[in-house]
Each structure stands twice: as structure tokens, then as C-alpha cells.
Symmetry: C2
Subunit: 325 residues, 2 copies
Amino acid sequence: MKVLVIGAAGMVGRILSEHLLHTAELGGKPVTQLTAFDVVPAELTSENGVALQIKAGDIADRDTVDGLIADKPDLIFHLAAIVSGEAEADFDKGYRINLDGTRHLFEAIRAQGSGYHPRVVYTSSVAVFGAPFEDKITDTFITAPMTSYGTQKMIGELLLNDYSRKGIFDGIGIRLPTITVRPGKPNKAASGFFSGIIREPLAGQEAILPVEDDVRHWFASPAAALGFLLHAATMDTAPLGARRCLNMPGLSLTIAEVLETLRKVAGDEVVARVKRVPDPTIRQIVAGWPRDFAPDRAISVGFTADTDFESIIRAHIRDSEDVKG
Amino acid sequence: MKVLVIGAAGMVGRILSEHLLHTAELGGKPVTQLTAFDVVPAELTSENGVALQIKAGDIADRDTVDGLIADKPDLIFHLAAIVSGEAEADFDKGYRINLDGTRHLFEAIRAQGSGYHPRVVYTSSVAVFGAPFEDKITDTFITAPMTSYGTQKMIGELLLNDYSRKGIFDGIGIRLPTITVRPGKPNKAASGFFSGIIREPLAGQEAILPVEDDVRHWFASPAAALGFLLHAATMDTAPLGARRCLNMPGLSLTIAEVLETLRKVAGDEVVARVKRVPDPTIRQIVAGWPRDFAPDRAISVGFTADTDFESIIRAHIRDSEDVKG
């Protein structure tokens, strides 16, 4: 099986690519080739005989995307995106990458003709929803984004559904909760602080909390995100019908609950490193995001998530020690 | 006030343009200029001193659209679309006109800079919804289109919301019920038969009914559609918040009820001209369309529709006689 990962240098893309290189199989089939694409070269190393191609370029350039599809990968993960904060600040860049780039990919697949019908796994976001919300968002709740990022992700979902319905490819979209604890450095996502208030204090550094303690949010761990992607890549898509984009399962916690869990795992001294510095811009963006879900469809087709937040923090501590070691 | 009507040669565009030329005012303000744009020149005549410009071109061409916006119309009606049946048959054409054309318009407005902030009235469609439905679709029901046309209309809605939120223009989208009775000749819309089974028999001709008598659908008259457009052009958009696209009010009837109303108005002989010729393609498209609505938001901001179907048929007969006379 030939696999293409678009967005391979990002956090989720790197975890996914490393997993595929390490296991060299997916759903019982050998992974023979992995093409890792991003705007910068992904830092990956071939393992277990998987032919690794590392490519860098701009998905807003149609020729570049045609080049990625030319050898007809069997499975395509489309994870590349300008994240929420940056898409809000740079209108053109967000539309160019998140909308034009996605459309280029789908059109490049279509240009290969009817003999080519790959699985396409698209990472969408809970940012496709906007306030006012249901207490727990159900699978038929209106998608009414309140950011440019959410708008662009939702347009990608609509295109994915339509191209799949037309038999151009076999698409599935997964709306990721906010991935927490993100390893490494902060990115430009407005949601970055959700990880920051755990990661930085554990590393002995101060972290900024730009929103109130009673803000509720929807979380999944990096390990859960990897599980979602692998399941999406291998599951039977027939039960999805025309609605191929799913709310992934996750955990709903307030900031206060997150910090209380951090206190339980790491103590008062660590939690004291969180500094409250309200940021009206981030508050406004976060206020437009959903807080809790009833992801029945995803669960019914086999997606599984974290069971508690304490395990998420403990896994992050373990992984951080692995990296240091 | 300078008004631009994109799609002025279509059925709704022509009714709207004729009304604006005839009244030469809107919401108490004089209409000084009307630019009527379509792929073919609209057949319109200036009245009451309104400066009428009739232009023809392709909205998938960005330069053409820039030319339409160059003199900064205060009010823009964007009614142009490749209709459902044709967008389903010609994938490229549907996306080129319905998606690229709409985006060109929105980008052309943005290119004029922050001093320009027109009202944009966009006609969307109940085709943004897809089965399975609620019995009566509410204002927070998921928009999950099952046709390329519905997908493209929904993408236009998302863009309209985002551009409005960003302060680029003051947009409002109205999801029209199926307009019945359409005057004139059949178009390529899969929904065309809903008018055909009334219009053709009244004109002494046979009409094809391609779906079962128990199919339920959502209707508004041409006069109601005109009313929606005028209200959308003049109303206060502030109460809409971030969700600027509304389900318009209408009437829900089965085909059997439509035919029974036709029998009441015009007699058995007229109804006998309806021939049942099931068409699986049209049946499948129509099966993916909604049947009934609870359009509370639209009603709360002042949109009004027809009160009964008999009046719709009688108005059509009157209008046909006016045309003949």
C-alpha cells in the first residue's frame, strides 16, 4: 500500500507518519511507500523497508498537488491546514491553503480518472460548529462556524461528501477535539493554551491562561488522535452514507477541572506556574467553540477515545521523558 | 441607490428587476441605477427614469465580476446559479458558476477595500438539506446536502457568513422553497415538474409527473419569492447574528394535494393532462430534498409567505392571462 500524508511535519502528521514507518502495516496490509508532504520537509527516518519520500511544497499550487497524486497513492491523509488563529489573522492565506489547497487535492484525484478511487482521510475540526450550542452537540446539530478556519474546514467537508458521493474517492472526515497535551512548541492555533497550561508548567516554565477557569472545552490526546486516523483509514465507510464527517469522541472538561487534574498528578507548585492573563481576542474565538458532544455516530462505527484526563497528563509525562531519554 | 442583479435573465431575477424598474424605489429610497447581469442579456425595459444597464457575461471570469463591482453598487442580488439537474450532470460547470462565480463576487467586493460595504442578498436553496430529515426542519437542523447543487449553495452560504462576519459586506442568504408556479418554459432544474404539472395542464398541454403522488414538498409562489428578496434587501440584519442564511416560509403539500387543489380550481379535465411517467433519476434527487419546515427565525424577522396553495394557482392563472392580454 502506498500512503500519502499531507501535513506530515505537523504534530498529528508526524505522530501518524512515525507510526506507519514503525509498524509498516495498516489494517493487515503492508505499507510499502510513505510520501510525507508539508510546507517544510518532515523530519522522518525510514524504518522496516518502507520507501520514504519526503517532499516539501505549497498545496495552494495545483501542479505540486498533481505531482503528489501522480503515482496514485492508495490512501491519502489530508491533515494540512493553516490553524485557527493564523487563518483569522491572514484571510488570504487561510483560504489559499485550507480551501484552495483542499480543492486542488480533490481535483487532482478526479483528474486521474475513474480507475483511481483512493481512501481520503480529512482532518476537520469542532470549529465547524458555532454558538449558540446545544449542551451536548449531537450528530445532526447545525454546522455554523464562527471563524474563517471553521468555515474553510466545513467547506472541505462539503466537498469531501460531494466528491465521495460522486464516486471520485472514498472520503471520511474526522472532527478532531482539541488535541491535548500537544508535545513540542506552541503553534499559532488559538487553542494552543489548552496544551500550554499543562506542558509548560510540567517543564518548569510559566504558561499563560488567556480565558476564564469556567471555560469548558472538548479534548482528546495525541494517542487518541492517532487511533482516530488509523480507524478512519481502515474502517468500512458504507455505514456513513452521505454524511462522511463525524464528531470524534473526547472528554469535556472546564479549565478548572483541567488544572485540578494537573494538581492531582503534579502538585500545587506546578499549577502555580499558570498565569492568568485574559486575552479578549482568544476569549472571543474560544467562546465560539463547542464545549461538549454526544458523538453517537462515531462511537457506533468504532471510534474510541480517552477515558479520563488524568491518563492524558500521565501519558504526556511519559512521552516527554522518552523524548528526553 | 445603485442596484446590481446577477442572474437577471432567470425567472426570479426578471420578476425582481421588473419590479425595481417599475417602482423605482426600495425601502423608501430611489433606485437610480439598475445593472442587470446574466449569461445572456436580460429582456428588460427602463421605466421611471431608472438608468438600466443590461450586461451579459460569465461570472466564472473574475475580470467580468470586477467590472460589475467597479462602480460600487449599494445593493447586490446574487441569484445566478446552475440549477440542480444541470449541476448534477455537469460537475465542472456547477462548481465553476456556483462556487467560483460566487467567490469571485465576494472577492471583487473585498478588493474594493474597507470603504465599500454593500448589502448582498444571496438566493440559496432548501437543497442545502439532505435526508434523513426531521418531520419539520428547524433552524438548527444540520445542512447536509445530497446534490452538487446543494453543496455549492451551502459553500456560498458559508462564505457569505464569513465575509459578513469579517465586515467585508452585509450579507443575507435566503433558502427559497421550490418556486411554483414558475411562468414560461421548463428549465433544467430537477424540481421543474412541480410547476409543470400545474402550468402545462392549465395551458391545455400534457405534463409529465416523474414521482409518486405521496411525495411531499415545500413551495412558495413567485410573488412570495419577490417579497423575500425585497425584505432581505431592506431589513435590519443585526438580529441575524453570525447565521445570516434563513429558511424561508412556505407551504408543505404532497403531489396529491397539489393535484387536488388544481382539480378544485380548474376541473377534472385539466388534472387528467398530468401523465405519470416515473423517472428514477429525478425520484432519487427529490428524495434527498426536504418536505416541510418550521421557519421560525425567518418569520421572527418579518418574512411572510403564501397562506394557501389555491391562491398560488389562481395568481398564476391571472398572471398568465395578463401575459396573453
